[in-house]
Point group: D2
Chain length 296, copies 4
């Protein structure tokens, strides 16, 4: 029996990278948070403190900045692919990489009805995400979004569930349904117009959420995933993590008021958490694409 | 010599109130965070644990919810005024009130190019705020906004400052200028169309930020405040708290690359913090309107 | 009528400063977050973008680091006083300063029953704070603490309060009382052994909270402030901000269980917020000492 | 080809549960955050909005509270096992469960040198954690801790690493090494005295961090894991996620000062992130025990 090193990775997390395209007086702004993780032969560092195989995380950070300068960033998935391949191609002990990129949205400040050339305001907290995994010659691209907060003020029911000795929740045919969508979807290919694809997937998710008369958040989850797969043949599967952001109807009977689904207390914790995968039944699963991503 | 109770207040903080206007199938959504603080004669509670004067904070919360049901919420300033006056008018020991309201923005989810009737997505983290103070028969209304994050990718310089033995910052004629605006402005009257006023003030702040060629964040602050006061004769003063969200140019000389204000590291801490007031010189100050608000 | 600059200040916020005393092999560790704000004649920067009077916030940061090297930091109040005086003494346009310091606690890692010489673990999130104000030749020192979370599992009642049409809260003679203490106390002098004073004040606050049979959080607040003033003749006043962190008894009647103050739901929002001052009746107030501190 | 439901789970997250043991006047306090996730046959809910198999998350929450009342909570691992088994045993469609528990530490407030009977203060932000997985008749218990922030002020080097065109980091034989430990360890059995085991594992982690002269954070990680496995024969593997909380030496040459590893800037982002597993080479891996836990 021995004690040995198992799976491991290391890198730089949350590199805050802002790039300005100044090729014309009408600047363009990109705002990314980048994380790099390298996988490979790092036994020496763990067993002996020998760093001969350990490209410093500071160098990984520098590389991300340099790559943003040496060529246009392009879509975040492409940027992540280039960055990951560089580490594998240039450092022999590096056999795999996981690159995470979040993109933060900005919009031009309107001045006299037109967007300003070089003044911007942050456009929400929703993030576009990419998680690229390079391993054994394969490249997996998982695109996504997070912090997309949505709410239906009607068109949601919840009833017909099992009741046991601890059940007190009343059934309802009309409730608020609210969630903060974290979605990730796996592409079957890497030569995709990821920007166009993202816009289309995001629209599919929103439309399906809006138009599904929901009997369960699980149902909404499935319909959202299905809508994406139906419109995007090159996407293999969609994973969704949907916190049920409870809005409790305020009981106004004691004040002599009725409250017909009008005034709610928006609760913080606890919250329901619905997580699931919608997938094509004829694609191979790709566990490495998902390994260690924070959601189910 | 004795030990006595000094200034004090109490209330309920961060009441999360969501209201749906269902008067037509095209629902409207309001999402507020409300805080109430009562001031008055609460000596008994402090000295003796006698609660005869202490309207429970739970009741204050219930009142906020009930008021959202009993009449349309309207503008948050008006809602805060009604709520504060209620406590003063109905509880003899209550002599003053401070009501804080934050409003969170939502937009309709687009479906087939049109906004959906009852499905919404959260529209950013920027908040519209109101801080209403009732005291001694007077009402002070301070409107505001927070978390409005803005950035200029050029049009900002910083030079000509004093240098001492600890100064290492190089002067620059071109830098990124970024901040998260917290602004509060005091109205001279309470019979204002606060919604229309808010939209106009916000536009003034954004335009002034965008169009000011800035030699100092202090200058941008003053121009932003001045723009508001010039267009809004019924606003007495504007207070601005502007963190200087530093974007440091990445030094790429070691990599043999030039970096002409293209790629930046967005830093978290520390940050500059520029705080100031822009005011009319012919209005009386109103210290109670500002007392204990978190900014300078 | 004109539009003019009103009260203003600027500086560097949240300077993260860690200092190691290596004068012996048994290292000592200090971990501070420092904020500097300068007040004075900065009209030029605001009106004209003229920075001739504006010592850069970057220089202020450098100064904090240099001061931590040039002499032992000592108590955070003394460090803040030295830093503030330096800016006033060396920069003619600077007439006043507000220096904020938070100290984060660390303890030695125990190895074989003894604290290690140079290995430490973070000892909680409670912070010791100092807010020093220099203005017009005067120095005000306000010491404090924040994030001291305390709870009484019994010995707290709440009843005898007014009931109106919106009151639903039942009276209770036994409840959990929990809060996160933010306290600030103003010293009458600056030549104090601030470390010794802090330990004693903190013990007074904790003991008073623990031993007060509480009929209202207001009563606990007053007793806590009184305990501090009784034992510390050189402290003029204490300000306390006490969120009432509600613990709601879970109703287990539907499950056929009684729940005699045993199992609680710890709620996040909303929360009661009790704020007050306990003061000596024979000291002069010192509004500048408190101006713009975030609590009531 | 079809679009189908893949792996999924649902439950209640972040149930805030505080329990007081009042069996003697010397109360005991437990403060847990509980999350439940059920796995099984929930096709109906996803495909058809049929909730016949969906025990409400509200019921899951109620169950956690009821279980805390019906028997002493005991160790969090045992509580999680009981809770998970209940759902599987009583709901036919439920085939598996993942129960997460975090425990928050409290200590008695000292009064006259003794801990008070019913007054407590929060003892830090470090959390003890349990992640229990029930699946296919098997039970996996993973214990852990998070937010254990540690720092060595010397005894850490970093050199001998590869340099490429983007490397600028200087080598060092003396640096601050700081991290916030998240550790999880998998037990080979479920009939463990988990409280005693936890205390021993935690001590092993701390001692190994303190006494390892570190040439790489990877080496510290391995030594920490090895120390745990050497002392605890019933633990199969340890997973550690160690952010490298960079402390940058402040360059004081421009001020004419040397800075011999005395004054540091504690940076927020980016940070190195070192993740790895230390395992016995003769135990079977248990992927379900780790699936969807947020760390590598």
């Amino acid at each position: 029996m021995g004690i040995v090193l198992g799976p491991n990775q290391y890198g730089k997390a949350e590199i805050r990278l802002v790039a300005v395209d100044r090729s014309s007086p009408r600047h363009a702004l990109r705002d990314l948070t980048v994380g790099t993780s390298l996988r490979g032969d790092f036994d020496g560092a763990h067993y002996d403190g020998d760093n001969a195989h350990v490209l410093p995380t500071d160098t990984q950070k520098n590389t991300a900045y340099a790559f943003a300068k040496q060529a246009p960033i392009g879509e975040i998935e492409d940027f992540a692919l280039r960055l990951g391949r560089h580490f594998i191609d240039t450092q022999e002990p590096v056999r795999g990489a996981r690159i995470l990129v979040e993109e933060h949205a900005w919009a031009r400040i309107p001045v006299d009805g037109e967007g300003h050339d070089h003044s911007f305001h942050r456009a929400g907290e929703e993030k576009r995400t990419a998680a690229v995994t390079l391993q054994g010659g394969e490249a997996h691209v998982v695109s996504g979004l997070s912090d997309l907060v949505v709410l239906k003020s009607t068109g949601s029911e919840f009833w017909g569930y099992p009741k046991d000795e601890y059940t007190t929740l009343p059934e309802t045919t009309d409730r608020i349904l609210a969630t903060a969508v974290t979605a990730r979807w796996r592409h079957l290919r890497t030569d995709v117009d990821f920007g166009k694809s993202f816009d289309s997937v995001r629209a599919s998710l929103l439309e399906a959420f809006a138009t599904t008369h929901s009997y369960a958040l699980q149902q909404s989850l499935y319909e959202m995933g299905k809508a994406v797969l139906e419109k995007h043949p090159d996407i293999a599967e969609v994973r969704l993590s949907l916190p049920n952001k409870h809005h409790f109807l305020v009981n106004m009977e004691p004040f002599g008021l009725d409250n017909r689904n009008e005034v709610f207390h928006a609760a913080d914790r606890p919250y329901g958490l619905i997580e699931g995968t919608v997938t094509r039944d004829d694609v191979d699963p790709a566990p490495p694409a998902w390994y260690s991503l924070p959601e189910f």
